[in-house]
């Protein structure tokens, strides 16, 4: 069985030969420093690899590393618009994206933080006057169909297309600032909804363009919208259901009309409360299954939602075990998560979000070795 068949069976809620492994995507890769440490630790050539995401400082891992860790998925990345040019300001260690959002790295920091937002006033007038980048700029899909066809022919991996921005809520707060958007949620829901609608319109246009090009080739379409904090919803579930849920549904419906691919939603934090809604909205896959958050016990999640949604992630508690545990702890943790999530299929193993700069390389090796070892079907107790 090859990687593609393995992934497609798992996404179809069937048991393949082993649990598929995702390593190297936008939310399943690792910081460049962790990548370098890992190559050194494994005595592999420390070749220069491209930074895949400037903000998070993650890399597209070395091909030999992806093979070693049995990665079953390969990514496809739309481009920026033709009139955007990336420029890093070395004096302030900051940059601006094509939306006008400013990112800055704190001194000694591992990655960039949001540092400035174009929608300063939070008024409808400002929103109406704001110039969104062109979602249908042809540069976004330049060469993408050829690349997709090449990957299908030259690899046996499943193909996942990544989103260039977050979801309706995430991009709203990227543009407006998290604290400001939270204040708007308290005072001015009409504005929150108007902003959500503008972001949705952009995403619908963008995905129409992209999927008209590569819809027949991809197996997974990545969306992203964090809804959970460590202990519960980031904002009221009523507000989510009123403003964001219907727009999630419109996005998922569009994707399902345009392609046979499954819709993957990256949604961090404690989100058990939202799973019935997300399933109703048409999400096929949920990631990253943040097991350290409240109510995210994997055995219970699988029991309650395992027939209706694919779990993609869950690969070791990223706040305690992976950074601070021993390799033995990591293996035990992986074994437990596979035991909980793998039976019956509907599970793709991945780290819980990108692996941070200071995670010991022996723990990363333990993570993927255990995923391969314990992920053989039928999975043991």
């Amino acid at each position: 069985m090859n990687s593609r068949e393995r992934v497609l069976l798992a996404l179809d809620h069937k048991e393949p030969d082993r649990v598929p492994i995702d390593f190297g995507g936008v939310v399943s890769s690792l910081h460049h420093q962790a990548h370098r440490n890992l190559l050194e630790y494994l005595d592999m050539p420390t070749e220069k690899v491209p930074i895949m995401d400037m903000f998070q400082q993650i890399v597209d891992p070395a091909p030999a590393l992806k093979e070693r860790f049995h990665a079953d998925i390969v990514g496809l990345f739309p481009h920026d618009s033709s009139d955007f040019e990336f420029k890093l300001d070395p004096t302030t260690d900051s940059f601006v994206d094509e939306w006008g959002v400013v990112y800055r790295r704190p001194r000694g920091g591992y990655w960039y933080d949001l540092a400035g937002h174009p929608l300063r006033e939070g008024t409808i007038d400002e929103l109406n006057a704001f110039r969104f980048p062109d979602p249908r700029d042809m540069n976004r899909v330049k060469g993408l169909a050829d690349e997709a066809q090449r990957l299908l022919k030259e690899t046996d991996k499943a193909l996942m297309i990544h989103a260039p921005i977050g979801g309706v809520f995430e991009q709203s707060y990227w543009l407006r600032g998290l604290e400001s958007l939270f204040m708007d949620m308290g005072h001015n829901k009409q504005y929150v909804e108007a902003l959500a609608e503008k972001v949705l319109e952009w995403l619908l246009e963008f995905w129409t363009l992209v999927l008209d090009e590569v819809g027949p080739y991809v197996h997974v379409v990545e969306l992203s919208d964090d809804l959970g904090g460590q202990h519960g919803p980031l904002f009221s579930p009523d507000l989510y259901r009123g403003i964001y849920k219907p727009r999630h549904r419109q996005l998922a419906d569009l994707i399902h009309r345009k392609t046979e691919a499954k819709v993957f939603l990256h949604c961090c934090g404690a989100i058990r409360w939202a799973l019935p809604d997300l399933i109703e909205s048409g999400m096929d896959i949920i990631n990253p299954v943040q097991v350290s958050a409240r109510d995210m016990e994997t055995d219970r999640l699988k029991r309650e939602f395992g027939e209706d949604i694919v779990f993609w992630g869950g690969g070791a508690d990223a706040t305690k075990v992976l950074p601070f545990g021993t390799p033995g702890d990591v293996k035990e943790e992986v074994k437990r998560r596979i035991h909980d999530l793998a039976p019956g299929g509907g599970f793709v193993f991945a780290p819980i979000h990108n692996i941070q700069a200071d995670v010991p390389p022996e723990n990363i090796v333990a993570l993927f070795e255990a995923a391969h070892e314990y992920g053989q079907y039928p999975v043991g107790p």
Binding site: R107, H187, G229, H231, L234, T319, Q356, A357
Partner: protein, 211 residues
């Protein structure tokens, strides 16, 4: 006037309403201390209760905090020179390398709303800055926040700096932030862990013997 109107306006997050009502209360001769004790403090306690019951979330807590601060901002200048009746002094900061301050800011306001004197050192605070702030005045609690596993070591370095400065005998340490746990709090020798702003107030009150 009924001070409960101010309390209601704070809970609703109606900052202009709070300002108008506080001005009215002051004009009617109500003591600033009484306005704080009988409207702002119970309002923030109510906000904490609603947060714990999952009736309020961060947005509601934020607008209530801003409304409370709008009221407090009017009253503080009227109390200059008066004997402090603060429950305790708390020095708070997000640790070095970490610029995330939304949670920390909420903790500051909730503590202020519970009657603490709060010194907010901001975000990305180096250990020596905590030490300096603690030496400036008798402090009951130091609160540290970290949002990322990669900045948790800065919390340990700050603990070391406080220990080396001989401050750990006189001040209690309260820690919080998404990746933290009670286990980690115990491991670094902190006195209390709070998963959210409301819990931070409860812990802080307990640490100064008010809980």
């Amino acid at each position: 006037m009924d001070l409960r109107d101010i309390e209601d306006a704070v809970v609703r997050g109606d900052a202009p309403g709070v300002v108008a009502l506080v001005q009215q209360a002051v004009a009617e001769g109500v003591e600033p201390k009484q306005i704080i004790a009988e409207s702002l403090v119970p309002a923030m306690a109510e906000v904490g209760v609603r947060f714990e019951r999952a009736e309020f979330f961060v947005p509601e807590m934020l607008i209530a905090s801003r409304a409370m601060q709008a009221g407090l901002g009017l009253l503080k200048p009227l109390m200059v020179g008066e004997q402090s009746t603060a429950v305790g002094r708390v020095v708070v900061g997000t640790v070095e390398g970490d610029v995330h301050d939304l949670g920390k800011n909420l903790v500051c306001t909730m503590l202020e709303g519970a009657g603490f004197e709060v010194v907010d050192l901001g975000a990305d605070v180096p250990p020596e800055k905590f030490v300096t702030a603690l030496r400036q005045a008798k402090t009951d609690i130091v609160g540290m926040s970290a949002l990322m596993t990669t900045t948790m070591p800065a919390m340990e370095r700050t603990m070391d700096a406080l220990g080396e400065a001989g401050l750990l005998d006189e001040v209690k340490v309260l820690v919080g932030g998404a990746p933290l746990t009670q286990e980690y709090c115990d491991q670094i020798g902190a006195d209390g862990y709070a998963p959210d702003a409301s819990a931070a107030v409860r812990k802080a009150r307990a640490l100064v013997g008010e809980g």
